[in-house]
Amino acid sequence: MQKIIHTEKLAENVYLMRVHAPLIAEERKPGQFVVVMADTEFGERIPLTIADADVEEGSITLVFQAVGKSTQDLARMKPGDKIPAVVGPLGHPTEIEKVGKVVCVAGGIGVAPLLPIAKAYREAGNEVVSIMGARSKDLVILEERMRNVSDELTVCTDDGSYGRKGVVTEPLKELCEQTPAPDLVVAVGPAVMMRFCAETTKEYGIKTMVSLNTIMVDGTGMCGGCRVTVGGETKFVCVDGPEFDGHDVDFDELMNRLDTYRDQENDHNCKLEEAK
């Protein structure tokens, strides 16, 4: 049971939570995630990336989108409430090195897991140039925090309601064409966005790491639901990842697999709508 210290609504259906989890706060490194359950009887195990941690307070910060029953239950919880299960930190941490110029690209709530990664690259002495994309102005989150850990930040919205109109791959392409070109690109967000980022950088031969968020049950290597083909080999996102070289990831397969339970999800969402 982990006590919630603070909650915040960042945008429509997007929530931030600071949760008491001293052991995880102490051990976690950028790039890692936790598995959370809002109910240990019939609830789902939800993998969530860790946006931040405060060792002194013994807390971790989680950012999530309330899209299904489990995350909606989580969103309704208040400070003082206890989350029945928080497990982690899971996955391999990001391998932070000084490489020179690092471009960090975030799509949607991907900005949350990218924050600690960008921060760590900057602290390691890299120049960090960040790009954040969202559908519209109301969905732009954590902009100030991202600005604080970046040397430069471009915000894009699909509808042009804020920042630059367009998708993240446009400024990314421009950066790839500049001299000096980026030494590394890190993209975190929806699968389709990571795929386009990887496709954009490929022709420039710039290494692009992506952080995959697949279907998983346990998050410790036991179920293999998170299988993905990387460079022709099957990898488990939970114990081999979650970060992989985006140029090697089979995104077609990844996106199909993310859709595994589409029938049940549609059915579930209909029931959720009826309940409202």
Binding site: L23, A85, D252, Y261
Partner: protein, 499 residues
């Protein structure tokens, strides 16, 4: 064979028992061999495929006593040699025959911590029941004394009639033991170390305790309430149970010693990494490891479609690859979840199937189709990457291989296609790499199994290991045997001055 109800079986047993008790002469071996072997009262196949409740109801008292009377009480006790934890089988069986079930329970508990579990899931036909003289005399292992069913009867009788007794705990020693994982090996170590007065904490990665008994073995084969009752006993003994704790990640192994002050650690984290086959199409949507399929259904309770939030794939036609207990479990789970057709594809013959004979029989009764001497070569998918069919090749048995079983050899040009929408891979498990990844100092073999000496000691001081993490995927009883061995060694170490 027509299905007999519990009532019918009990009535027949009561009648036979009365006949025997009315006899003046004591039973002669010939009489004992003449007592009909008692079948397990079960839900009918038609009924049980629509629910997840246990298949077997367990013997009635009359059935248990009658079955126990079939035992010849051999002096050389071949059954005891067949038991990995050496339960005094003739003694407990005699107590059952006498109707002294409490005494029977006491005898079993001297050697086994989890009789209710083992009575249900042990492969008795290759262990205690295999060398049974009754089976030998009747020239059929299936007619051996049903030691497993008697063990289950005794354990269930004790739980329901007496309440499980909490063993005596020695004075606190001030020594701390961490037990990693909460499957059968870990439960034994926790109990044995706690009895000696040590402060024992179980660290479990999942939100529920019991390991493979909770996430893997389905409810219809082992009711979760039985596992729960074993866990409750440990809690009453003063064992601390911590869920959601992944050793290697939440805390490094050496930090448990250096920062948290544990004097000894037992690694019983199991063989929790599904072995895949690398066949073409294995990552299509609709191909699952048996681990994933069973974990969704059991631990996450996806069988309860109304209440569970964890989804499970809607399958109509399912092919399960493998011939072990896990393959049977996955196939029978799929059937219960509503699949119209379930096929088991196994590359050797039925004789070589590692599954318990009873599980194979149950699967067949439930309409699962066995395709032996067959193997899945490829899985074909639709345009949107979902399973459409499996390409299957026929095999024949050749020369014996390393395992002593005849090697299956593919028959050239024998491939054909089977239309399925789901493929479940149940060809074994590998050791979970997490502890090794985060503890490079600990020695493992090339397959990732922890290397231990004959006392369960690993290459790291204070660290012991047992169960599937050492053996590779095995059975509950073997894991328990390993746990017992490691516990003895841990207790000796903690009593010595070095600790």
């Amino acid at each position: 064979m027509t299905h007999k109800t519990l009532k019918q079986l009990d009535k027949e047993a009561v009648k036979k028992l009365q006949e025997i008790e009315n006899q003046e002469e004591p039973l002669k071996p010939r009489d004992r061999l003449g007592i009909p072997p008692q079948p397990m009262p079960e839900q009918s196949p038609e009924e049980r495929v629509h629910n997840i409740n246990e298949v077997g109801y367990g013997y009635t008292e009359a059935q248990a006593r009658l079955e126990a009377m079939r035992c010849l009480q051999c002096k050389n006790k071949p059954c005891v040699d067949g038991c990995p934890v050496r339960i005094d089988i003739p003694a407990f069986v005699q107590a059952v025959a006498d109707g002294d079930f409490a005494e029977a329970a006491r005898i079993i508990k001297r050697n086994s911590l989890l009789p209710a579990v083992c009575g249900r899931v042990c492969p008795q036909e290759t262990q205690c029941q295999q060398p049974c003289t009754v089976g030998k005399s009747l020239k059929d292992t299936e007619k051996s004394v049903s030691i497993g069913r008697l063990e289950r009867f005794v354990a269930d009788w004790e739980r329901e009639n007496k309440g499980v007794t909490v063993p005596e705990i020695a004075e606190p020693t001030g020594k701390k033991v961490a037990v990693v994982g909460s499957g059968p090996a870990s439960l034994v170590v926790a109990a044995d170390a706690r009895r000696k007065g040590h402060d024992v904490t179980i660290l479990e990665a999942f939100h529920k305790f019991g390991g493979v008994m909770m996430y893997g073995i389905p409810e219809f084969r082992l009711a979760k309430s039985i596992v729960q009752s074993e866990i409750d006993t440990l809690r009453k003994m003063g064992v601390k149970l911590v869920p959601n704790f992944v050793v290697g990640r939440t805390r490094k192994l050496h930090d448990l010693i250096e920062k948290d002050g544990y004097d000894a650690i037992f690694l019983g984290a199991g063989a929790g990494l599904p072995r895949m086959t690398d066949i073409e199409g294995e990552n299509l949507v609709g191909v699952f490891s048996a681990n994933e399929y069973l974990t969704r259904a059991n631990l996450m309770r996806a069988y309860d479609k109304e209440r569970a939030e964890t989804p499970i794939y809607n399958s109509r036609k399912v092919a399960v690859l493998g011939g072990g207990n896990v393959a049977m479990d996955a196939a029978r789970t799929a059937k219960r979840l509503g699949a119209e057709e379930v096929h088991i594809v196994y590359r050797r013959s039925e004789e070589e199937m590692p599954a318990r004979v009873e599980e194979v029989a149950h699967a067949k009764e439930e309409g699962i189709q066995l395709h032996t001497l067959r193997n899945i070569k490829r899985v074909l998918g639709t345009e949107d990457g979902r399973v459409q069919s499996a390409v299957i090749a026929k095999y024949e048995l050749g020369e014996p291989d390393d395992s002593g079983r005849r090697r299956p050899v593919e028959i050239e040009g024998s491939e054909y296609t089977m239309d399925v929408d789901t493929v479940i891979i149940a060809v074994g498990n590998l050791t979970n790499p997490l502890i090794k990844q985060t503890t490079p100092a600990i020695e493992t073999d090339e397959k990732g199994h922890m290397l231990t000496d004959e006392n369960g000691r690993t290459s790291m001081p204070r660290v012991y290991a047992g169960g599937d993490i050492v053996l590779g995927a095995a059975t509950v009883i073997l894991a328990m045997g390993e746990g017992r061995k490691a516990a003895v060694s841990i207790n000796e170490f903690l009593e010595s001055e070095d600790s």
